[in-house]
């Protein structure tokens, strides 16, 4: 599966840059249709994918993820060195780097940005750099990050959006009394060192970016990136309208194509329908506490959970809900998540086994339970009715309850649910984020399920300090084995990011973490 996913990745990347044999053409503005507008373009204080996934076009990090989202390559820093004791990282900044307003990037900017990102009072992403104890500078090119303890993920953390380097002086000069107030005014007209700079932003309508004259990276022609003069993000929330606009030439690209229309757009000779590999997993998560709301909860029985996993025909689910676009999960960690283990689908459909497990668990006649889905979400209601039918085969009567997002989240957080639909994408090219939410009980009680494995908790704690990559991988293999066989979820399928582009658009990339990379995108005239 691992090999397969890499092959898929390779094909998608080939599709994205298939014409690199063609001579690159510079210039032009790309019009890209988004399903939702950004909310808050502060790298540290944002909380949503609509921000995260485009931040890298405005801001830049010290280190960059490779195109497959799994490795490292130089960003604003050209070199980095982890101390032998693992307690510090020394980074060398690139020569001549500047923000989009032309002001130079100094070690002081880096120091200030990293400290702001690590401040536990700032935003919800500070856990990614929680190992940072202090940041110091040396001369005009060197930054030293001192750590509280060895951190195997510190270099990867320096590729994540929240460690973007921001202009300290410009930020501090923004109106506002507190950091949060300054961030509000700064983020309306952000200044970063990414390939593009903000020109204008009309909330709920459009965002115009123009090429930065100060971006450091060079294109294939040896001249500075980006190739484009600019990007117009147009907000077209309705899927049908977005596709119609793309087909009639009003857009050069459109994100979030519904699965039901992927095959149709693949057949459109003017379009390039690309499925970018993602880290997205769709799953049912369960509350496994012995009693919920004063009633006995059969989901607390491990055998029941296994039976429910075996009773789901994933291939049928993938056909019905994703129109064949999805793939069957091989672990709770996506095939594209680093340190993923598992080469065949977990819980292959086996009704006889499921029935036997229900009998062994003491529920030969099944029971009644409840699934919380997002009101108005087509995929989730499709999943709900499919599960209803599949689980009825082992005697389970499934009630489907609809709620809007804040309601569902609140009930989730207060453990006032039996089962709910969930979807996950990683924000960092390391399994520790996903494991901390799914597995590690001290964080959010393993997806608020109440599930707890002392062995898995210990594996997670140890893996957070383990600097030997092979040993760390072994820990993750063990953790996945425990969670996949006894955990509180029913993994349903993995899906890619469906993006449709006009055939004349080349070099666009959406990495598995979701980031939209326009730096090397160009339009054929």
């Amino acid at each position: 599966m691992k090999v397969l996913s890499k092959a898929v990745l390779g094909v998608a990347m080939l599709a994205a840059s298939s014409v690199s044999a063609l001579a690159i053409e510079r210039g032009g503005t790309l019009v890209y249709g988004r399903y939702a507008d950004s909310l808050f373009l502060d790298p540290v204080l944002n909380d949503a994918n609509v921000d995260i996934w485009i931040l890298n076009n405005l801001y830049d990090t010290l280190i960059e993820p490779t195109d497959d989202g799994q490795g490292l390559r130089p960003g604003l820093a050209t070199a980095w060195k982890l101390a032998a004791d693992g307690m510090s990282v020394t980074l060398t900044l690139r020569d001549g780097i500047a923000f989009s307003d032309g002001s130079p990037i100094t070690p002081a900017d880096v120091q200030w940005s990293l400290k702001r990102a690590a401040n536990p009072k700032n935003g919800i992403w500070n856990f990614i750099v929680s190992s940072i104890a202090d940041v110091t500078t040396e001369g005009d090119k060197t930054v030293i990050i001192k750590l509280k303890q060895p951190d195997p993920t510190i270099l990867i953390a320096l590729t994540v959006f929240n460690t973007s380097i921001m202009p300290m002086k410009a930020f501090e000069a923004s109106p506002g009394a507190t950091d949060a107030d300054k961030a509000k005014s700064f983020a309306e007209h952000p200044i970063g060192s990414g390939p593009f700079a903000m020109q204008s932003w009309t909330r709920g309508s459009s965002m115009k970016l123009v090429r930065s004259e100060h971006y450091w990276a060079k294109g294939e022609d040896g001249k500075p990136l980006p190739y484009l003069d600019g990007i117009d993000f147009e907000l077209v929330p309705d899927d049908n309208t977005r596709i119609l606009k793309l087909q009639s030439g009003g857009l050069d690209g459109a994100e979030f194509i519904p699965y039901s229309r992927v095959a149709e757009l693949k057949a459109d000779s003017n379009l390039n329908m690309i499925l970018f590999p993602s880290t997205r997993l769709e799953y049912v998560s369960m509350n496994v506490r012995p009693t919920v709301d004063g009633k006995d909860n059969p989901l607390s029985n491990e055998k029941v959970r296994q039976a429910m996993n075996y009773a789901v025909d994933k291939d049928a689910m993938i056909r019905v809900v994703t129109h064949g676009v999805g793939t069957a999960p091989t672990s709770f960690m996506s095939a594209t998540t680093p340190l993923h283990a598992g080469d065949k689908p977990i819980y292959p459909y086996d009704l006889a086994k499921a029935k036997q497990l229900m009998k062994d668990a003491g529920f030969p006649n099944g029971f009644e339970t409840d699934l919380l889905i997002l009101a108005g979400n087509q995929d989730e209601s499709g999943i709900g009715t499919t599960l209803q039918q599949m689980w009825s085969q082992i005697g389970i009567k499934l009630d489907i309850e609809q709620a809007d997002n804040p309601t569902r989240t609140q009930r989730y957080r207060t453990a006032n649910f039996l089962m709910r639909m969930g979807a996950w994408t990683d924000d960092i090219a390391d399994p520790n984020e996903r494991a901390s939410y799914f597995v590690y009980s001290p964080n959010i009680q393993a997806l608020h399920s109440g599930w707890k494995s002392d062995a898995a908790d210990k594996l997670f704690d140890d893996s957070q300090k383990e600097m030997d990559p092979a040993k760390r991988a072994a820990m993750y293999a063990q953790m996945q084995q425990i969670y996949n066989s006894t955990g509180p979820i029913v993994p349903l399928y993995e899906t890619p990011y469906p993006v449709a582009l006009n055939k004349k658009v080349h070099g666009f990339l959406q990495i598995p973490l979701g980031n939209n990379i326009f730096a090397s995108t160009w339009i054929q005239k």
């Binding site: 709920g204 147009e234 309208t241 809007d404 804040p406 009930r411 959010i444």
Partner: protein, 312 residues
């Protein structure tokens, strides 16, 4: 003079309505399950973050205390900042509400332009082919869901014929109007159908009335009878209906704005409700309540002018 005191009375009546709306909105959004913190932080929130954000937003205070802060701020003209978008609510409303107003105003005008002449055609040819044709076509318009009608218009007139842009909004006033023609027509269709049916029925009623027979017997020209005697009287119930429809027009704008990708207040309202963005929901409700009240007031004044007996 009686008209003036009538207007004054109606304006004074608006004040308690307004206070009522303020309180109800404030309390209702807080009684909704789910809270802004759940909406912004999502599933990944840990308890410490939830606590911190609730404290930052003042949501850990008792509701009456929150209301006092809110009322005090509203009186001084401050509607607060959006929780999700981090910008002042007033600025958001001033940016988004005019778009929706323009959309609904255009929809209203298009609806009237379609309904009034066709109602006459239908009523004066009652039971004949033109009547059946007009009623048949409007029946289809009435039964078509707004999003579907919008998609059909978009596909035919924008994507195929390229007469109009495929959604989006303009860069200047004239361009805005151009972008709004299709969405306004979409929104107008079902309203036009309702208005046409209502007006047709009242025209039929009025045409048969004694005073119209009398006017005809006096030998007045048909044009004068039609406009001075028939239309003016037939319009009374249609004006009421039109006024009452403004609320539902604003409601229909939500769907239209989504289908046509127009940055209006309807979509802002929906996003804010899903995001439990209390300050925006409150601010928008206040603004829309104010507008609807003014629309009702205008309807009443028009009514009083059409039928002076109402003032007494």
């Amino acid at each position: 003079l009686p008209l003036l005191s009538y207007i004054l009375r109606r304006v004074l009546q608006m004040v308690p309505t307004f206070v009522f709306i303020l309180v109800i909105t404030f309390v209702l959004v807080r009684l909704l399950p789910g809270d802004p913190t759940s909406a912004i932080l999502g599933d990944r929130a840990i308890d410490a973050d939830v606590k911190r954000i609730n404290n930052e937003l003042g949501l850990d205070q008792p509701i009456p205390v929150q209301f006092v802060y809110f009322a005090r701020a509203v009186i001084s003209g401050n509607l607060g900042d959006s929780i999700n978008l981090k910008v002042p609510v007033l600025a958001l409303i001033l940016q988004r509400l005019p778009v929706t107003l323009m959309l609904t105003a255009m929809a209203g005008i298009i609806a009237l332009l379609l309904a009034v002449p066709l109602a006459f055609v239908a009523a004066l040819n009652r039971g004949e082919a033109p009547d059946a044709a007009v009623r048949g076509v409007f029946q289809i318009a009435l039964s078509m869901p707004v999003f579907y009608a919008g998609l059909v218009l978009l596909t035919v007139f924008a994507a195929r014929l390229r007469w109009f842009p495929v959604g989006g909004y303009g860069s200047n006033f004239l361009d805005d109007l151009y972008h709004l023609i299709l969405p306004a027509t979409t929104l107008a269709l079902s309203l036009a159908a309702v208005l046409m049916r209502n007006l047709r029925a009242s025209i039929i009623g009025v045409v048969g009335a004694d005073y119209v027979d009398f006017a005809r017997a006096k030998g007045l020209p048909a044009r004068v009878i039609l406009f001075r005697h028939v239309l003016r009287n037939a319009l009374i119930s249609t004006v009421t209906l039109f006024g009452l429809s403004i609320g539902s027009l604003l409601g229909g704008a939500v769907v239209t704005e989504t289908v046509f990708a127009i940055p209006g207040a309807g979509r802002l309202m929906i996003d804010s409700i899903y995001g439990r963005d209390y300050p925006v929901i409150q601010g928008l409700t206040i603004a829309i309540a104010l507008l609807v009240s003014l629309a009702f007031l205008a309807t009443d004044i028009l009514h009083a002018w059409l039928d002076p007996r109402i003032v007494r």
